[in-house]
């Protein structure tokens, strides 16, 4: 085993053991760190294309509101809601990304199109304040400890989920970045 791999495994072991010893608030911070790391990983993938995206907030918003609204209003389990949210935000990304790709909207212009997209999603959610709670935010209907509703009073469950998500994100990133695609991505960013 290479030293790098051993260090990575030690780091992973520490990350897995952390919830047992940290106070709740620090656990909350750790969850935030992992989630932002995951989002950053997704964003960095765009950077490989030489694109600056301001639209990731929009995709995150869609992904967050779809399962939360479906659960609270229709009692639909997030196990279906989350894939649906992922599908819808991917669809949104396609609807915006494909014309940008076809019509060569790149550089500053791409950044500003995605900025406009994030504003559209943000303001639409704010305008629909009867349903979404507007700028005050939306709290999903409480369900206590439930795997069905993916709600847990203990933060450590969310920590586990966030850690797993981050690792999956890193794995996908590594597969794309280290694979043959890397040269292809770099080539795309060149022209």
């Amino acid at each position: 085993m290479s030293p790098v791999r051993i260090l990575a495994l030690i780091g992973l072991a520490i990350l897995i053991a952390l919830p047992a010893i940290t106070p709740t608030y620090f656990l909350h911070l750790l969850i935030q760190i992992l989630l932002w790391s995951f989002i950053y990983t997704a964003w960095a993938l765009m950077g490989r294309f030489g694109f600056v995206s301001f639209g990731h907030g929009a995709f995150m918003g869609v992904g967050a509101y779809v399962p939360a609204l479906l659960w609270s209003y229709y009692g639909l389990t997030p196990w279906i809601g989350i894939p649906l949210g992922v599908f819808l935000s991917a669809l949104l990304a396609f609807v915006i990304g494909y014309p940008c790709f076809r019509l060569r909207v790149v550089g500053h212009y791409f950044a500003l199109v995605t900025l406009a997209l994030s504003q559209v999603v943000l303001l639409s959610l704010t305008a629909a304040r009867d349903i979404t709670g507007g700028s005050l935010g939306f709290t999903p209907k409480a369900a206590g400890h439930s795997w069905y509703a993916l709600q847990f009073p203990e933060k450590s469950y969310f920590y586990g989920i966030a850690l797993l998500l981050w690792l999956v994100g890193l794995y996908v990133w590594q597969r794309i970045d280290r694979g043959i695609n890397r040269e292809a991505l770099a080539a795309i960013s060149e022209d």
Binding site: G47, G50, V52, I96, P99, C100, L103, R104, V105, G107, H108, Y109, A111, L112, V113, L115, A116, L117, Q119, V120, L123, S124, T126, A127
Partner: protein, 284 residues
């Protein structure tokens, strides 16, 4: 025609004056320095706080407070250029974008830390004019008028003075201008100062209409970028026309639905227009 619709159109026109001023400042900086100041609207926010504290807290007369704010923001623009833009002038556009993006978060967080998140009003109560049963806010009328004066003054400055000519020349070809004996660094500083002063003037006009809070830049920042791009980045006259188109969409959209949805309409239209005319409506 519906009298309220007419009122919305006139208010949109008046809003367009202030937006045009901001679009001019941003366009000038982009055209000359070739850097997008993402934090431009937050410099306006700083200017509004300067006016608020000078006028509402320390009792400085409003016109004097406005002049101080304009001067302060011009100095601030120079500082932004020296501290943030100059080091990344030859970096990739992504790094420049991130540097000014960092300034945006810095200014917003710093303002929150210093002043808290409460909405502050400078407490100027200007009368509402009634012209043939149409109500027009006097503050907006002043803002529109001063916005136009600022735009015309900038136009003559760029056309008639030596520095103005140098600024226009540098926007056309930055390499040749250096060979012609123009000091680029000095032009960049002057441009940043003018950009900052325009932000300061816009801050004076906006402080009379809106409450100041640390995140006010977020409410019109994206709109200004949209206007600049629609008009063609660096194209001042295009940006001037685009600001009235966008403000009309916002005003008329707000008349038929609510203000958030009118912005949604404007942004959606922007995205569609970007696909139809990727280099702006008035691309040369």
């Amino acid at each position: 025609m519906d009298i309220y619709l007419l009122e919305a159109i006139i208010n949109g026109l008046l809003l367009g004056g202030v937006l045009a001023l901001l679009a001019l400042g941003l366009n000038l900086i982009f055209g000359v320095i070739d850097v997008v100041w993402i934090a431009y609207a937050d410099i306006v926010m700083c200017g509004m706080y300067v006016i608020y504290f000078l006028y509402a807290q320390y009792g400085v007369p409003l016109p004097l407070a406005c002049l101080i704010a304009i001067a302060a923001m011009a100095a601030f623009g120079v500082m932004v250029h020296l501290l943030i833009i100059a080091p990344v002038l030859n970096s990739p556009p992504l790094n420049q974008l991130l540097a000014t993006g960092g300034l945006l978060f810095f200014l917003q967080s710093f303002a929150t830390l210093l002043f808290g998140t409460e909405f502050r009003n400078i407490g100027v109560r200007l009368p509402i004019l009634e012209i043939a049963t149409i109500y027009v806010s006097f503050a907006r009328l002043i803002a529109f008028g001063l916005g136009l004066v600022g735009a015309v003054a900038l136009y003559f400055f760029l056309k008639r003075t030596y520095i103005g000519t140098a600024i226009r020349a540098i926007a056309q070809d930055r390499d040749i201008v250096g060979l012609m004996g123009v000091d680029q660094r000095r032009i960049y500083l002057v441009t940043s100062a003018i950009g900052g002063a325009l932000a300061g003037l816009a801050a004076c006009l906006l402080a009379m209409q809106y409450d100041v809070h640390p995140f006010i830049g977020n409410t019109f920042g994206p709109v200004i970028f949209m206007i600049c791009v629609l008009g063609g980045l660096g194209n001042m006259i295009g940006g001037f026309i685009a600001s009235f188109i966008i403000s009309q969409i916002i005003a008329i959209g707000g008349y038929y639905s609510n203000s958030e949805l009118s912005y949604v309409l404007a942004f959606t239209l922007f995205i569609v227009l970007m696909f139809v005319r990727p280099r702006g409506l008035f691309a040369r």
